[in-house]
């Protein structure tokens, strides 16, 4: 706490230093030349800052202020400059003194216009892609929203692909993202609270939730934690995530991130809270539980039986991902008794010429695999395929033929690699990637005993973990039977009668009971 206080002081001092002290900088002056001076001073050396003077009837001076590239200059010409310069003020519009009012009401043909009276608000507005208009003799300025910066089109998110389901994803523009949400939940209950974070970046952050479903204690906690953040800039939602998560030393993410508006919308309907951050397509959803780590969006867009089946597969993959290499090491070096004889012999046969112990062998291969994975992300696309071929040949075949690693080891590592991609949430899978190495060390030193120790430690950690007051392992531990409907098995949608105990606040009922379709029901309803 001490450190933060100090930092705050430094920031304050800076502000005072950079502004001249003889005039009240913050209020807009009626003298337009003073305003101009102040503005030019604050935008000193900002080459993208435009301040454009206009004279109406040869006397009244108007300044149009915007940041080049952020505001739509073309539209500005169309709707403001042209009528202003060629047509002038309409006649009989009253006194020149109220020109600002007139401008706002009649002249600026832009839908969103606000009036500000403080210099800092004006500057902020301009920096947020608005066009500022100050008029001589007025102590108010107009901020017209004319955002005109470049943005990416809406694309299918590449990290969370579904076979069936909506294909739109968030983009870097916050407004577009909220519109994607609003299109899904057309209710006034969907609230989007704005908050600005970042000393320099002044990033817009939106807390989205559904009023009436959300648990107020969680929402309040989100607000306080967000307000606590003091940071120079927020460039990605991860910047925020690290400030507001419960246990920073856990390998497991306690806040879910997603690029998919449908995931956010469905989470909101469950009573969760979403945090949208400008300039990044990744939204944060909280609270998160262990089980949401392997629920994919596709689960809800397939019929429930297949969804359940695939979830069970995924659960097995999750365990394979973390335990398989260590079990292999423990079995072959400590407990060969447990391996069926013929399998043991084929493992022994292929290990015959391998110079390293099994642990070292696994480490080598896992290291190479993770290396390939990392290289695959970094490599430019044309080179990527070449590297993957080399990787596959070198690791898969040449290493086995040269007798550096054994063939079963390649199978183990490859299976583990595939399994690690079976976890739908990337950042959740990362935790298991890392823990795999811990398990390997334990298995290499202590055998199955070590794996069991590691497993127990892992479970203890997971059970202790909380995300915004929600136990990470819920509803399995603590056990809430009603909520088990959407954990490993996914029951049909008409059976989701209640919202999750820990997420939803007041409104726990989700859908009325008795909607299971059946022929009998059809006749009755007729």
């Amino acid at each position: 706490m001490k450190k933060i206080g100090k930092w705050e002081k430094i920031q304050k001092n800076k502000k005072i230093d950079s502004l001249p002290s003889h005039i009240n900088k913050d209020m807009l002056s009626s003298e337009i030349s003073t305003n101009e001076k102040v503005l030019k001073e604050s935008f000193q050396n900002c080459s993208d800052f435009v301040i454009r003077p206009i004279y109406i009837s040869g006397e009244t001076k108007i300044f149009v202020i915007y940041v080049d590239g952020l505001s739509d200059a073309k539209t500005l010409d169309e709707v403001f400059l042209k009528p202003m310069m060629f047509e002038g003020l309409p006649e009989g519009m009253g006194e020149v003194r109220q020109i600002g009012q007139i401008l706002k009401q009649h002249l600026v043909a832009i839908s969103q216009v606000t009036t500000v009276s403080k210099m800092s608000e004006l500057v902020d507005g301009v920096l947020k892609a608005n066009v500022g208009i100050i008029v001589d003799g007025e102590t108010d300025a107009l901020l017209a929203e004319l955002k005109g910066y470049e943005k990416r089109g809406i694309e299918e998110p590449s990290t969370e692909v579904v076979i069936r389901g909506p294909r739109d994803g968030f983009i870097e523009n916050l407004r577009t993202n909220t519109s994607l949400l609003r299109r899904r939940i057309r209710s006034t209950s969907l609230k989007t609270e704005p908050i600005t974070i970042g000393e320099f970046s002044q990033t817009d952050v939106i807390i989205a939730y559904i009023d009436g479903i959300v648990q107020d204690s969680i929402l309040d906690e989100v607000r306080t934690r967000l307000k606590r953040i003091q940071i120079d800039g927020v460039l990605e939602s991860e910047y925020i995530e690290e400030f507001i998560e419960d246990n920073p030393y856990s390998p497991f993410p306690q806040i879910q991130n997603t690029e998919r508006p449908d995931i956010v919308a469905s989470s909101l309907l469950e009573g969760k809270v979403a945090i949208l951050v400008d300039n990044t397509p990744f939204a944060l959803v909280l609270p998160m539980t262990f089980w949401s780590g392997f629920q994919a969006a596709g689960d809800y867009y397939e019929r429930f039986m297949y969804a359940t089946f695939i979830r069970i597969i995924r659960f097995i993959l999750l365990n394979v991902c973390i335990f398989f290499p260590s079990i292999y090491v423990a079995l072959t070096t400590y407990h060969p008794k447990l391996i069926p004889t013929s399998l043991l012999i084929s493992i022994a046969a292929s290990r015959e010429s391998v110079p390293f112990p099994a642990v070292i062998e696994v480490f080598l291969m896992e290291f190479m695999f993770d290396g390939l994975r990392e290289a695959g992300i970094r490599l430019p696309k044309p080179v990527g395929s070449a590297v993957s071929i080399v990787g596959a040949l070198v690791i898969g075949q040449a290493a086995v033929q040269a007798g550096i690693v054994s063939a079963p080891m390649v199978i183990v590592v490859a299976t583990t690699g595939i399994a690690s991609f079976g976890i739908p949430r990337y950042s959740f899978g990362n935790a298991f990637q890392m823990l795999r190495y811990v398990m390997l060390i334990l298995a290499g030193c202590l055998g199955f005993y070590g794996i069991v120790i590691g497993f127990i430690a892992l479970i203890i950690h997971l059970v202790n973990l909380r995300s915004y007051g929600v136990p990470y392992f819920s509803p399995v531990a603590p056990l809430i039977l009603r909520d088990l409907k959407d954990i490993v098995i996914r029951t049909p949608r008409w059976a989701f009668n209640y919202r999750r105990e820990f997420f939803a606040g007041r409104n726990k009922k989700r859908i009325p009971k008795g909607q299971k379709p059946s022929p009998k029901q059809g006749r009755n309803s007729k």
């Binding site: 070096t333 008794k337 013929s342 012999i345 022994a348 290990r351 112990p357 070590g450």
Partner: protein
Amino acid sequence: MNRRLICFVIYSSLLFTSGCWDRVEINNRAIWIATGLDAIEKEGIQLTGQILIPSSMNPQNGGGGNGEKNFFLISAIGKNITDATQKIQMKLSRKAFYGQRRVLLLGEEFAKLGLKNQLDFTIKDPNASLRTDAFVVKKGTAIDMLNLSYPLENIPAEAPLKEHSQAGGMSDTSYLHFLKAVNSKGIRPSLPAIEIGNFQDGEGVGKKGEKSYQLTGSAVFDQDLKLCGYLNMEEYRDQLWIMEVLKKRSLTILIEDGNVSLDLDKMGSKVIPEISRNKNIKFTIVLTGEGAVIENNTNLDLTQPKNLEFMQNEFNKQYKKQVAHTITKVQTEYGTDIFGFGEVIHKQIPYQWRDLMNDWDKKFSDADVTVKVNLTIRRVGMSGPSLRK
């Protein structure tokens, strides 16, 4: 925070520096798949191990099909097993690993001398697998047996094991049963017996080198764990049936001038003990079985219920005689209760057992045994009457 970090480093270094690792890589283990024990006069016992050569079984190099043996035998003579093991280890470049030992062969001479002084090792060693099938090598030595390779099995020691399980015996739990019997007063141990024989039966066939293992029944032990005789295969099956171990069996009987075979798959048994006032012990053994007639070389048309019933009775009658004969043979010739009748009394009439257990072998020999066989023919095959009709 700093203290936590230091604690973490210290504790995690325990993992690597503790030094008492029992980690042994597979390529530093000699996979010992079968043990043979033979008696050597005066000097004690000869321990033989069958050890696999993994490199000869590498699937990438074409795998063992090139006529070379993929195992080798190693043996040593010692006062007891540990002594011999130690001597064997001097000849072995890798640590002998007993975890995969599935077969234990006892030479006939060794079994006759008695196992009492030699078996402790197999129970005490934590690495030794108790899922072992033990055999007595009838008319032979264990080392001869271990020297044979088996054309079907990559691991030759698996051949007797699989033969045993094909015969419906207890296969890899037989040694465990044996040990249980050793520690119980109401049952005397018996082990399956195996013999070296030719693959082809009959005159003039079978090259000299092509020897096979052949299950020949069971070896009966007495109270001192000394081999006292053998039962043949049919008798062994009767024994297993009474002990409710047998899972399948084919029965063949002669009726008039033809013969019939019944393939049983659901088999059960019940032993009912009865002790009269004058301390006469009586056992009633009810054997049940269900199955299909798979060969019918008689004139009987089994689609007729009358004939079916007749045949069922015929089976019951003939096998009642056969089982009774087996029991009488054990009672009179060997006088040791390999069926575990004593255990049945122990469980069902425990207060009487205390008086009986001390001289059980004799009482077993004197007991009255009544056998009842209740077979049910469920299916009579695909076609109706037999071809002879």
